[in-house]
Symmetry: C2
Subunit: 207 residues, 2 copies
Amino acid sequence: MSFGFSGNGSQPPSLLDTLIDSLKCLPGVGPKSAQRMAFHLLQRNRDGAKNLADNLNKAVKEIGHCANCRTFTEHDMCVICNDKSRLSNQICIVESPADVFTIEKSTDYKGMYFVLMGRLSPLDGIGPKELGLEILEKRLTEQKIEEMILATNSTVEGEVTAHVLSEMARKQGIKTTRLAQGVPVGGELEFVDQNTIAQAFNGRKHY
Amino acid sequence: MSFGFSGNGSQPPSLLDTLIDSLKCLPGVGPKSAQRMAFHLLQRNRDGAKNLADNLNKAVKEIGHCANCRTFTEHDMCVICNDKSRLSNQICIVESPADVFTIEKSTDYKGMYFVLMGRLSPLDGIGPKELGLEILEKRLTEQKIEEMILATNSTVEGEVTAHVLSEMARKQGIKTTRLAQGVPVGGELEFVDQNTIAQAFNGRKHY
């Protein structure tokens, strides 16, 4: 979208147009929000904008992946992998760094993580190598891991990935577990999808 | 919000925490969206992030106000003020540069603009000086303006501002008009607020 102030098209886009356009790289931000953001920053928060620009630059330059678990960090190893108080005999496998955050916030899990940074998807060219499964296999061999918790998403690709990982663990005699599937807490049955109901029904427990 | 990976609080926040925090300067972006944006940029669009940082820096540094109408521009005068084909005998007064955009997009108005960059609000220390009314008065005296279109917002402050501006124009014998108030196009009466209904009723026209 052009802000429309660049005249008849023979001129280069204005700085404002360029800014609005580049704000659209943010997820969930369309032309309308991008415009609102640009005006807000220019009119009311130029310091915030400068600060954001600095931190974007710094983050893009310095944030890489943890050598041990592959999550985002600006150091060699992330805070969790460096934390000696955590249990090294449990490893939880997730698809993305955001999942690590979600689990840390919601549970009292004190073990280690491994972040795949994706899921198996051969059609998109994402195979075992892209997910760093070699690094994971090495960890499984070298570290005394007793339980592998499969916390990949509950999608088709996530399930396939979990299956492949469980095979890998089984070869080394490591116990694998998978997050329970069922009705969400606080959810009304009426609004839960059929697949979930079916899973919850089959997986019913003593009460 | 801390991303929670900065350990026990004795360490400085991680770069990721800092990035998430600074994304919250964007309007409508809370902790959750900021986190999603940071992960998205780092995981999938580092070029976009770098580009955004560059454009933010450039915009903050170079975008100022048009000497004639006070809208945003990186030049001395904005594209509209520089456009010789526009009618110089009409001037439309708006509160913010976004309003200029809205009017340009929705109407075929071909006159000039003046952007107040705010509205009269003495309690917040916003008086005639902050709104550049001197510049506007000078334009009214020097340029042959025949009609002043008051397009300030339909809020209490916007109405007060419009009133003050109309007084200013009247002194110089300039005709003032105000955007019509009434039922929004496509709106159902049932869902229109009482004040608007009252205005629309009083302002009813021959049909």
